[in-house]
């Protein structure tokens, strides 16, 4: 009985703090998506560009970002202002560095998703639009992109779910988010319970993300 009481007390103390820092987790998630989705599209354009140099640079970028650990990228982005520009690193940079590193990393993954989505649209769609007189911009914006969005929803959902879990990597830069708090509690309480609770948070967050995406997929199911 006493064990349960202790568990409950710990839980009550921990919950508000976890919840509070869950806000940081969500902000990392939202801000990363907000910037990496458009950046990924630009990168996909670069990757598909006729210009050989642009294409090669995009290719190398994507390959490096996907081929090295996000953890390392976080550290490099954090220290880059100092080593490259000699700017003193302040505390306020911490969160910015986390977001920047996540955005740069996820854009690379999204670029490849966009690229395969764009490549999967039949060339007849471009030709029909061209004959009707659509400009290249109109063709992409009105005809191609909407169809690409529908096709890439499943892989994008995958990346979003991975991103939710990846947010815990922010601890590398000592950015306190939910999992950091959970670990601190786990240490002070000598119990795995806080980590389990954090797991439950992630799970429900992902459940929400997945349901939301499923809803969007259903919405776009009006055509094949």
């Amino acid at each position: 009985m006493q064990g349960w009481m202790e568990f409950w007390d710990n839980f009550i103390v921990m919950l508000p703090q976890l919840t509070e820092k869950f806000g940081v987790t969500v902000s990392i998630f939202v801000l990363t998506l907000l910037f990496s989705l458009p950046l990924g599209l630009l990168l996909a354009f670069g990757r598909m560009a006729k210009n050989g140099l642009l294409c090669l640079m995009s290719k190398i970028y994507i390959s490096v970002m996907r081929g090295t650990p996000l953890m390392l990228q976080l550290v490099i982005v954090y220290f880059a202002p100092y080593y490259v520009f000699g700017i003193k690193i302040t505390n306020s940079w911490r969160f910015g560095a986390v977001i920047l590193a996540f955005v740069l990393n996820y854009a690379a993954y999204f670029a490849e998703i966009y690229r395969s989505g764009i490549a999967s649209i039949p060339v007849g769609q471009y030709e029909a639009a061209k004959i009707l007189g659509y400009t290249r911009g109109q063709t992409f914006g009105k005809i191609i992109l909407p169809q690409v969005v529908k096709r890439i929803l499943p892989p994008v959902t995958n990346e979003m779910i991975t991103l939710v879990k990846d947010t815990s990597l922010a601890f590398v830069l000592a950015q306190v988010e939910m999992f950091t708090v959970a670990k601190q509690f786990a240490a002070s309480q000598a119990s795995v319970m806080p980590l389990m609770v954090a797991g439950v948070f992630y799970y429900f967050f992902n459940l929400l993300v997945a349901s939301l995406m499923e809803y969007v997929e259903k919405k776009l199911n009006y055509y094949r």
Binding site: P122, G124, E127, A129, K130, T135, K142, Y223
Partner: protein, 262 residues
């Protein structure tokens, strides 16, 4: 066999192709093709598979770049030859010239995310700068004329092939082209659906719509063409009115027509 040929000789020249050459991978696919199409004419292009019929249409519609020769619509040059190369007019000119023709594809290429109505009215709004109201009126007219009034809110995937092809013809007509290309408009259709599409094209012919039609439907070609072009291995083997080409003494042509119709 419309017999309007002689009268049409006086018609305005809509399309003029001269000495068109086209290579794919170093192979000459079109060899010195010249072709003039006048207002109101219906021209059929027939010939064996791989003879270059689609390539000819695609070059004329500027989906494919010519390697040599001249292309002009209503007297305005879209491409000409200089120093042994084919030079195309500036982009803005090509865009304007491109408004003069439409193309109906073998596999329709409708926009799957747009309803029937939107497929037909979007280009006039986006490209033609028509008001939404005007474009919708025009689109609805075309749609009901082709017997699709009850389908205007449907999406292409909900339509039969024949219905889809009729929508794609309506979509092309909504831009009010002077000239319409068809690349085997019924080849992707089940036999029982070709009739409804051919009927629509016949109606257009009656209205003196200028059309160039690549087709394997010999009976249809006979019925509606003012002129038939027989293409083989990238060359025009015969050209003339229906009787001239279909009863030509050339063994190759008889052979082909026999094969297709039997």
């Amino acid at each position: 066999m419309r017999g309007g040929m002689r009268g049409n000789m006086a018609g305005k020249v809509l399309l003029e192709i001269r000495h068109l050459k086209k290579y794919f991978d170093g192979q000459e696919i079109l060899k010195d093709i010249s072709l003039t199409v006048r207002e109101g004419e219906v021209v059929s292009v027939i010939g064996p598979s791989g003879s270059g019929k689609s390539t000819l249409l695609r070059c004329a519609a500027m989906l494919e770049k010519m390697d040599a020769g001249e292309l002009a619509y209503m007297g305005e040059r879209a491409a000409y030859e200089a120093q042994g190369r084919c030079i195309y007019a500036p982009k803005e000119d090509l865009r304007r010239i491109g408004r003069r023709f439409g193309l109906v594809f073998q596999n329709f290429n409708l926009f799957p995310h747009y309803s029937v109505l939107k497929n037909v009215m979007d280009a006039p709004v986006t490209v033609g700068h028509l008001s939404k109201r005007e474009a919708r009126e025009r689109a609805e007219q075309l749609i009901s004329r082709f017997g699709l009034a009850d389908k205007k809110e449907a999406y292409p995937c909900q339509l039969s092939g024949g219905q889809q092809q009729r929508v794609s013809i309506a979509r092309a007509l909504a831009m009010q082209p002077k000239l319409l290309f068809f690349d085997e408009p019924t080849s992707a259709l089940d036999p029982e659906l070709t009739g409804e599409v051919l009927k629509v094209i016949k109606e257009l012919a009656k209205e003196k719509m200028t059309m160039i039609i690549v087709t394997h439907e010999m009976q249809f070609a006979k019925e509606i063409s003012d002129r038939v072009i027989f293409l083989e291995k990238g060359e025009i083997l015969a050209e003339g009115c229906v009787e001239e080409v279909f009863s030509s003494g050339q063994a190759r042509i008889q052979d082909f027509i026999g094969k297709v119709t039997h």
